[in-house]
Amino acid sequence: MATVEIRNVRKAFGPVEVLHGVSVDIADGEFVVLVGPSGCGKSTLLRMLAGLENITAGEIAIGGKVVNAVPPKDRDIAMVFQNYALYPHMTVFDNMAFSLTLAKAPRSVMEQEVGRAAKILGLEQLLHRFPRQLSGGQRQRVAMGRAIVRNPQVFLFDEPLSNLDAKLRVQMRAEIKELHQRLKVTTVYVTHDQIEAMTMADKIVVMNNGHIEQAGRPLDLYDKPANLFVAGFIGSPAMNMVKGIVTGGRLRMDDGTEWPLPVNGSKPKEGPAIYGVRPEHLQLDSGGIPATVQVVEPTGSETQVLMRIGGQPVIGAFRERVSAKPGEILPVRPDTALVHLFDQQSGMRL
């Protein structure tokens, strides 16, 4: 187990810089999720941590030791790949024991180590099978087993669940989290799925275009997004963003519709702003803002309603069962303790 420090790391492929100075501190035993849209540089950062890409500038330290020039095999890390990267011509046992085979470990050690990992992951019955003969979830477990056998200081996961179907993904998500709680190994996990990030992480690092937008505990990111990008990325359905002008303690839209300002912050200065309210923080209230219903989507536990207010689309997620027809007017009221205000120009939280 070890800490990981990423200090002002840059990566350029030829003239194209994809990471523009990224710094992350990861505590010993912490589960950190790098999340962001495709092409934001999160996988590149993980591969640099693994030693599969070299570091253009900056420093990466594992366990207090700078590893910029250390080859992958000496970094004491194990990685689970998106496509699992199981050796197709080896049985599950041989796959898991491969690092020990390379290190010329005696057979008894292999059996003991592989047996331990197989027991943790429930793979005992599958050790003689080939990867082809396994289901997606089983392959995923073998890939993790191979990492566990390494007994590394840091686990790296590169979008490990994206090849699984939705149900299995939820199950494996819980398994990975449980595994981390049991082994307490420092883990860096890359995903583009904000729900995975929210449910698994001790700390989320939201990345976009080679920058870190915000890093922090999952609920902090949800409650206090630092900017519009994080606000829109974390949470599902995504936060509603309403454009308007702050004037007289209200936010006024072009058509004159007015929204109440957040009650928690200091008094914001007057001028153009973006008003952020999560769908789940809109309530049905007869005295609320009138919204024109467009689409009603009942999910069972809640009802999502796509509406228009002042010509702008707004989604509401209500615990009540809404039976409104398209075209009807539904009055909604934002929970002013939970709404956000952002600067229109910079996108930063006001």
């Binding site: 693994a50 992958p72 790949f81 080896m90 390379l102």
Partner: protein, 318 residues
């Protein structure tokens, strides 16, 4: 004359013509589709093979219809040292040339699978020996191996001065045999290299990355990842290569014509020499037919020993 009311009217089903109905008739369709392939195979494969087999059991000569002579031709060949010399050289030629082609071809494929500058140009250059007609490249080698005008001799004797006399490539038994093998390797490398390169490119790069993190050295990655995963393609390419090499004719016939003193005859060139040049069609055919068991063994070996791998099959049982 009655007029159909609207409710009675139904859209007339189009009646297919006799041709359309004929093509809908399955037995006819099967025969029609198979005919071109069967026809070509019969005319160009089955008939020559059958004729060859038939000839090998007759004493046919050019210009004279033969009589059935049973195993006479083969019994004669069993006693013929020249035939056995050709068998030996065919096997030796195939074994050494195949080894050389695969060693160099695999090396080239591994090289080209890396990021090298001018990759596509290099690939095109490597394919050249294969594109050039064999007879043309054989002529080139004939010049390279010429006792007087060989460029190698010129370099060694006149330029570098490390030899007194020109090289003797083709005028004695073993140098001639090795020279032909070298020419065959040169010609066979592109096929092997390009096929194996295609095979290498099917291996997922993440396997190498996983192996890198597992602590492998470059040799271990070759030994545990590249080689086993390349083996199925290697087996197929090797089967083809063995067949092509064993049945080689053009290179030998163009460069040495089987000489000196018949020492470089392959079974194919000897068959041609006896059958066409010598006019003994029956005997030539018998030599050619004698190649079949060797080819069958080579094919079966590749097929059973190398091509099928359990890990390639998807069944859940084992």
């Amino acid at each position: 004359m009655t007029v159909a009311t609207m409710t009675d009217w139904t859209r007339a089903r189009p009646q297919p013509g006799w041709l359309a109905r004929l093509f809908d008739y399955k037995p006819f369709l099967v025969v029609a589709c198979l005919f071109p392939a069967i026809g070509l195979l019969t005319v160009f494969l089955t008939y020559p093979l059958g004729l060859g087999l038939w000839l090998s059991f007759t004493d046919t000569k050019i210009g004279r219809t033969g009589q059935w002579v049973g195993w006479d031709n083969f019994e004669y060949l069993m006693e013929d040292p020249q035939f056995w010399s050709a068998v030996f050289y065919s096997v030796f030629y195939t074994a050494v040339a195949t080894f050389g082609k695969f060693a160099l071809g695999l090396w080239l494929a591994l090289l080209l699978n890396n990021h090298v500058p001018f990759k596509s140009l290099l690939r095109a250059i490597i394919l050249l020996p294969w594109i050039v007609p064999t007879v043309l490249s054989a002529l080139a080698f004939w010049w390279l191996y010429d006792p007087q005008f060989s460029i190698f001799s010129y370099l060694a004797v006149d330029v570098l001065g490390i030899r007194e006399k020109p090289f003797d490539f083709l005028s004695t038994t073993w140098p001639a045999r090795w020279s032909l093998i070298a020419a065959n390797i040169w010609r066979g490398i592109p096929f092997v290299a390009i096929s194996l390169l295609a095979g290498l490119q099917t291996i997922s790069p993440s396997l190498y990355e996983a192996a890198l993190l597992d602590g492998s050295t470059a040799w271990q990655r070759f030994r545990y990842i590249t080689f086993p995963l390349l083996l199925p393609i290697l087996a197929i390419v090797m089967t083809f290569s063995i067949i092509f090499t064993f049945t080689d004719f053009q290179l030998v016939y163009a460069i040495t014509r089987g000489g000196p003193i018949n020492s470089t005859h392959l079974m194919a060139t000897l068959a041609f020499q006896r059958g066409i040049a010598g006019g003994e069609l029956g005997e030539g055919a018998a030599i050619a037919v004698s190649m079949i068991p060797f080819l069958v063994v080579a094919t079966l070996f590749s097929y059973f020993a190398l091509a099928r791998r359990k890990w390639q099959q998807g069944e859940a049982n084992d």
